[in-house]
Symmetry: C2
Subunit: 581 residues, 2 copies
């Protein structure tokens, strides 16, 4: 058996199994040690191979594909620091529960830890941030070793996908020569040609006894439901039906996908981030029960509200079986698939006899919405109004990806319920500003129409990511909110300490991004006013490729506007709560 035959058969079996196990996209970064795997992958007719030079961007690009398709995506790089560049996206995937199959090429054991070039210690390289790590055996062609390669592949993908989903790392040692033998029978498997082992993976489901207990504690009480992102598409219907019977309002995080869609929207509360800053509203709406699904919401106001109600029964439901309770106030941790929880609880609850509490929430929400129309009057380009406008301007079934720091918070405050089925995405696993451009571009590959809103620091951090737009001809509309620095710091206590503020936090970049956009063959448009934005958004659906729309704002003015707005709305809400309406 020649080296080349062993190498080829082993990798062909692995790659064939990748496809049988549901992988359709791989993101490959060029390198030498990874040559055999890259060449075998490129040969497979059912595998889309995306080449991305910068491994940091590459991994985020894969994350974006995995997020929008809800399917695991594989990434491949060579040995050395290439693999270390994957780390930020792996950490994000771990906390955001996105399945990634991380494949790294390595020196064989005899070339490790002896100063060989480009050899680093890749064993458990990503520590606790992957769900599983396996050091693969050297390629062999025996029946046993082919079975091994196929099993590990299927197993790794299953582990990445099962709740809570996340990244898995396989490290492949390869000896030279690194060239496989490609022929037309490459992927013809003698044993079990349709896939070696299919993984049937169960979910966390609870028995009836539990539901009886929970029902008794939530029925006929003043309760709210708080929803973060849940990947399961059936969840929206299940939770809205439960809320309707319980007469609980649903406080829908912008990433919950509940603010728009085909489900029942009437119990959805979307302006809580604004009205829960008002002490009177908080007292008026005091809950006895809080049921929470998914990650903690973006809204700090809501987080404080949850913290300020320690006497409420707080149920945290997690299908991943994890402990998601930063308020440290849960009375009940429920490890159960979220849709199933809603559906199975339903027959046990009698339902609330009075809709009063729900009505209170709905009315405060309505008052807030009405006073929010004040935002509409702002004549100058501003960060909050942008999202208010986007809800009107974005097309049906658009995907809106938002950067972290200020945009996600403005989205939360100002992007309200609408009937357009707009999918909202962000990297909220670890809330980093890194990799945003690449994640959005990966998602854009499979999105109907992609709109990305992000700040200048976030845009700069992943400028390299734009290469994907150019190389893969991706259609994307990027709204760059350029306030020349870190806008969020103006809202933090350090803003009161001017001495080192601009140096350490303001960090103005003073960059004209038009140059970079040109380099990547993009179209750059400087938005002059709201009317200009409207016109650009209206025609955007017919415009292909990379499009960047810059909106210049001012950090100081932005802060003042936000404060003024919150103050105004707060007064209106107080009037309502006091019955002065």
């Amino acid at each position: 058996m020649s080296h080349q035959e062993s190498l080829t058969a082993y990798l062909a079996a692995f790659v064939a199994e990748l496809v049988h196990s549901g992988i359709s996209d791989v993101v490959v970064s060029p390198g030498s040690r990874s040559t055999p795997m890259a060449m075998v992958m490129a040969e497979h007719p059912n595998l889309k191979v995306h080449i991305h030079v910068d491994e940091r961007s590459a991994a985020f690009f894969a994350l974006g594909i995995a997020k929008i398709t809800n399917r695991p995506v594989a990434i491949l790089c060579t040995s050395g620091t290439a693999a270390a560049n994957y780390f930020p996206a792996i950490v994000e995937a771990h906390y955001a529960r996105v399945p990634l199959l991380v494949l790294t090429a390595d020196r064989p054991p005899e070339l490790r830890e002896i100063g060989a070039p480009q050899a680093i210690d890749q064993i458990h390289l990503y520590g606790h941030h992957v769900k599983w790590f396996a050091e693969m055996a050297l390629p062999e062609k025996s029946v046993d070793m082919i079975r091994y390669a196929r099993t590990v592949c299927s197993r790794a993908i299953a582990i990445a996908g099962k709740a809570p989903a996340g990244p898995v790392h396989l490290n492949f040692p390869f000896r030279e020569p690194l060239i496989p033998q490609l022929d037309e029978n490459l992927f013809r498997l003698t044993e079990r040609p349709q896939g070696y082992v299919k993984v049937h993976s169960g979910e966390l489901l609870m028995g009836d006894g539990h539901f009886q207990q929970v029902a008794a504690r939530v029925d006929n009480r003043r309760g709210i439901i708080v929803c973060g992102n849940i990947a399961d598409e059936r969840f929206a219907n299940a939770v809205t039906m439960l809320a309707e019977v319980l007469k609980f309002p649903i406080l829908a995080d912008p990433l919950s996908q509940l603010r728009s869609g085909k489900h029942e929207l009437k119990n959805i509360i979307d302006t809580y981030d604004t009205f829960l800053r008002n002490e009177e509203a908080k007292a008026f709406l005091k809950p006895e029960v809080i049921i929470r699904f998914g990650a903690m919401p973006v809204s700090k106001a809501l987080t404080f509200f949850i913290k300020e109600n320690p006497e409420a029964d707080q149920f945290v439901i997690d299908g991943g079986g994890d402990w998601r309770d930063p308020a440290v106030l849960s009375t009940d941790m429920i490890f159960c698939q979220e849709t199933s929880f809603c559906e199975k609880l339903l027959p046990y609850v009698k339902g609330n006899s009075s809709p009063q509490y729900l009505n209170d929430w709905q009315q405060v929400n309505t008052v807030t919405k009405e006073s929010m129309t004040k935002v509409r009057e702002l004549p100058e380009l501003s960060e909050g109004k942008l999202f208010y406008q986007l809800a009107e301007l974005l097309p049906e079934e658009a995907t809106l990806f938002v950067g972290n720091s200020m945009p996600i918070r403005d989205l939360d405050s100002f992007f309200l319920t609408n009937g357009k089925n707009i999918k909202v995405m962000a990297n909220r696993g670890a809330n980093g500003i890194d990799g945003t451009v690449s994640t959005a571009l990966g998602a854009a590959l499979y999105a109907k129409s992609m709109y990305l809103v992000l700040g200048d620091l976030t845009f700069f951090h992943d400028l390299n990511g734009l290469l994907a737009a150019k190389r893969f001809n991706i259609d994307i509309h990027i709204i760059l909110v350029n306030n020349n620095g870190g806008g969020i710091f103006s809202f933090l206590p350090q803003a009161e300490h001017p001495k080192h503020f601009e140096l350490l936090f303001g960090t103005p970049l003073d960059l004209e991004f038009e140059h970079a956009v040109k380099m990547f063959n993009g179209r750059f448009t400087k938005i002059t006013d709201w009317e200009h934005l409207r016109l650009e958004m209206e025609k955007s659906q017919d415009i292909k490729g990379l499009n960047v729309y810059e909106i210049t704002t001012n950090r100081e003015q932005n802060r003042a506007e936000h404060r003024e707005f919150w103050q105004f709305v707060s007064q209106e809400i107080s009037k309502f709560v006091k019955g002065e309406f």
Copy 2:
């Protein structure tokens, strides 16, 4: 004791101790959780605080400062994926033995692993790639805790600096509020105001008995000395004196800093990468003894030569006490500080009675150099000739930083001994193409005049790094060898398999980098011919700021030229060895 007082006193003590322990540069990336440390650092009059938005570039920038100053540099970032972005530079620092003090801010224990925003598991985040990790205690102001903060600081810096040098990671949990109280007595320490504990760190030194044994085995034999990079500046004199007595040629890797300088140059062999491709030369120069210092050399030809002489006594000297022997042929591992080894061995060796073997090496080297002048005749811009020219064109005491992949190999082949005291640098810990721009810029802060030569993929990979040039007004001359893709792959076996070659390995970017250079306020010059390059290099010393000179080459033509050249030189060497000269 208020929270703010504790926070301030603890961090002020830590930062004061940083300075007492020899840290003068910190590279800080903006963030919220790291606010208290950043503010205290900015307040210290003897600390240079460099702000860098992209943590990946920031860490490489710090690496560059540490490499050129031979002093530890601190880096600081906030919690979350920010810290993960440090990973590539940490891995490089680990293998390149560069001291880095990595400071990460973190959520306090009660906010970890419960789904709190921007909280990731930062305990042992960098695994085996740091020399020491410590999870710091929460800030307190008691005498004991101030002593603790100062001791850990001093200790961490000592560990980072002692051989083998490398990165150390301290993780700081901070509770809100995050604002310290800055006043003029901030750094006034009551106890031991001039530094808490000074670390006196010894080196690996051997006893006389060992040297007698080694001397007996190297005296009067056909031996060679192979030198990689050794940070100790006294090493050049010590090793050249030893070589002169032993009559051993010194095969000087371009990063050994032995190819130019004030030491004795006559036994330095600088064209071995070319002539050791010739079988007759290898047989003619067969050694009985190989003494090797530092990392493995860049040259593959030399690596093969070492491997092809298993019967030789192979001594590997490492002051870091590590096992640097990828050829797996060492007969003797010598854990001893390298300069001391040379100096202490000298009195025990009688010296070689015949200079014949040394003369043979010198003559082959001379013949090779003479036939290399053929490169000079190449009329068109080409990658090999570039380095040949640079040895002539660079100014006295310039620093030449080279990218990995092709430039370092061409440097090895074509950048020959010269009397200009040119310092040569590269990232050869893990040989990555990442972070090159940033490392060179960090080094440029303290270099007399910095010239960076790198390929287009390497330039692209760290394009963000250019922000430092703009923000800190760094003077740098970047020679961008643009062959539109991965040039090195044309020299690897996959070049014979055209099917997926351009997709997987050639990876043409088709970017006009002029746009990016403009965005960073740089001067972009497209070099038209050799005369143009000469003129630009001549006036370069008077030109400040960021300067990029693009040299467009062709991958196919480059490969053909290299092959042709090696063939020609090989024929000349064969003639000489056979006595046909």
